[in-house]
Point group: C2
Chain length 228, copies 2
C-alpha cells in the first residue's frame, strides 16, 4: 500500500499518470467522462478506476461536478495566463497568432479530449459559472485582437476562436493530432482575417510560444507541443 496526500491509504499502487491522488482522480474521471459520458459515470466508478475508496475521493472533491469543474478550468486557465504575459507592444497579428498557437497546443496536449464536454447540459448550471466566465473571457480576447486587425464590427472577429476550438472536433473524429496543427490553425486564424504576410507573422509568434515558461508547457504531451 502507498499513501499519497490526504485520505485513506491506497487499495493499490498508483497506476495512472499523476504524482498525487488528486491528479490520478482527475485523469480517471477525464477518461470516463470522455469515453462513457458524464451523466452515466458515478464517483464510485471513478474511485474504482483509481483504485481508492469512494470515501477517499470525497477528501479531494465533494461532488462529481467539482471534478468536471477542475478539468474544464484546466483547459482555459493556462491559455489565459499565457495571454496575460504577452507584450501589449507587439503587433495584434503576432499576439493573435501566438495565442491561437499556444491554445491549440494546449487543447491538443491533454490525454483526454476535454473540450468535447464544453457543451454538456450540466455545464450550463451554477457550479460551472466560473469556467463559463473564463471561457468567455478567452473568447473576448480573441475577438478584441481580431478587431485590432479588421475593425470592431467585422463578423470575422468571431472566427479565430472557432478555428482554434476546431481541434476538439478533429480529436473527437480522428484521435491523433498532427504535430504541425497548432501552427496550421494559428496561421488559418490570420488567413480568415485577410492577413497576407502569414510567414513573417507566424515566425514572430513561434518565438513567443517556444519561449513560454516551462511550468506552463510541462503538462503538454511532447508529441503535440509546439516544436522549435
Amino acid at each position: 500500500m502507498t499513501h499519497a496526500g490526504p485520505g485513506r491509504p491506497r487499495l493499490h499502487a498508483p497506476r495512472r499518470p499523476g504524482s498525487t491522488a488528486r491528479a490520478e482522480i482527475l485523469d480517471a474521471a477525464a477518461e470516463l467522462f470522455t469515453t462513457r459520458g458524464f451523466s452515466p459515470t458515478s464517483t464510485r466508478s471513478i474511485a474504482e478506476a483509481v483504485g481508492i475508496r469512494q470515501a477517499s475521493l470525497y477528501n479531494h472533491f465533494a461532488t462529481k461536478n467539482d471534478i468536471l469543474v477542475a478539468l474544464l478550468e484546466d483547459t482555459v486557465e493556462p491559455t489565459l495566463d499565457f495571454d496575460e504575459k504577452l507584450d501589449d507592444a507587439l503587433p495584434a497579428d503576432v499576439r493573435l497568432c501566438a495565442l491561437a498557437w499556444f491554445d491549440t497546443a494546449q487543447l491538443s496536449a491533454g490525454r483526454w479530449n476535454l473540450g468535447a464536454l464544453y457543451h454538456l447540459p450540466e455545464v450550463r448550471t451554477a457550479p460551472f459559472d466560473r469556467f463559463r466566465h473564463e471561457r468567455l473571457q478567452l473568447m473576448e480576447r480573441y475577438r478584441l485582437l481580431a478587431a485590432e486587425i479588421v475593425g470592431d464590427g467585422d463578423p470575422r472577429t468571431h472566427l479565430p476562436f472557432r478555428i482554434v476550438e476546431s481541434v476538439i472536433g478533429m480529436r473527437a473524429d480522428n484521435g491523433d493530432i498532427d504535430a504541425g496543427l497548432p501552427e496550421a490553425l494559428a496561421t488559418a486564424s490570420l488567413a480568415v482575417l485577410g492577413v497576407s504576410d502569414l510567414a513573417a507573422v507566424s515566425g514572430a509568434a513561434r518565438a513567443l510560444v517556444v519561449g513560454v515558461p516551462d511550468d506552463l508547457l510541462e503538462s503538454m504531451n511532447p508529441q503535440a507541443a509546439p516544436h522549435a
Copy 2:
C-alpha cells in the same frame, strides 16, 4: 382527441411543430437531448413531452437510439443530396463555397442544435454506423474539393469542414445565429485556402444555393436560410 398516423389516439391535441406524430416525437426528443442530455432522457419523458403514450412512441421508433439516429442523419443527408446535384463542371472553389454555404445554413436552421450531440460516447456504437459513415463521406467531399484548390497533401484541406461545423459551437454558446453567417463561413472556408477572389466566388456560389429545390430548403428556419 386527434389521430395522426399509426398508433393510439393522442392524449392531447398536437402542441409541437410537425404535421405528423413522428415529426413531433423527433422535435420533442431533439429538445430533451440538447437541453437535458441524451443519457438522462427516457422514451417515457419524450412520449410525455409529445402528449402520447409510451406504447404509441414505440410504433414509430423501437429504441431511444433509433430516434437519435434519425435526428443525426437529418443533419447530414440534405447536404449530401445538395452536393450530389452540384455540377462537376463548375470550378472547385465555387462548388466548395456553395457546399459550405448550404451546409452552414442547414446546421443553423433546425430548432435544436443537434450537432452538439455528434461526439456523444453513444454515437461511437453500432446503431450509429450509417450516420458516422455519412458524416465521413461529407467530410471527404470537403477535403477533395479543397485538394483541387491547394493540392492533395496540404494540411489546410481539413479546415473548410471544421469552419462550417464551428456554427455548432456558436449556437451552443450564443443561441441565435446571424443571418449572414452561412455566407461568412463559406467565404472563410476559401480564405483559409488562400483563395483571393472571394467576392466573385461567393457571388457564383450564392446563385447555386438560392437555386436549390424548395423541398431541400423548406425545413430551414427562414431567419437562418440563405438570403437572396
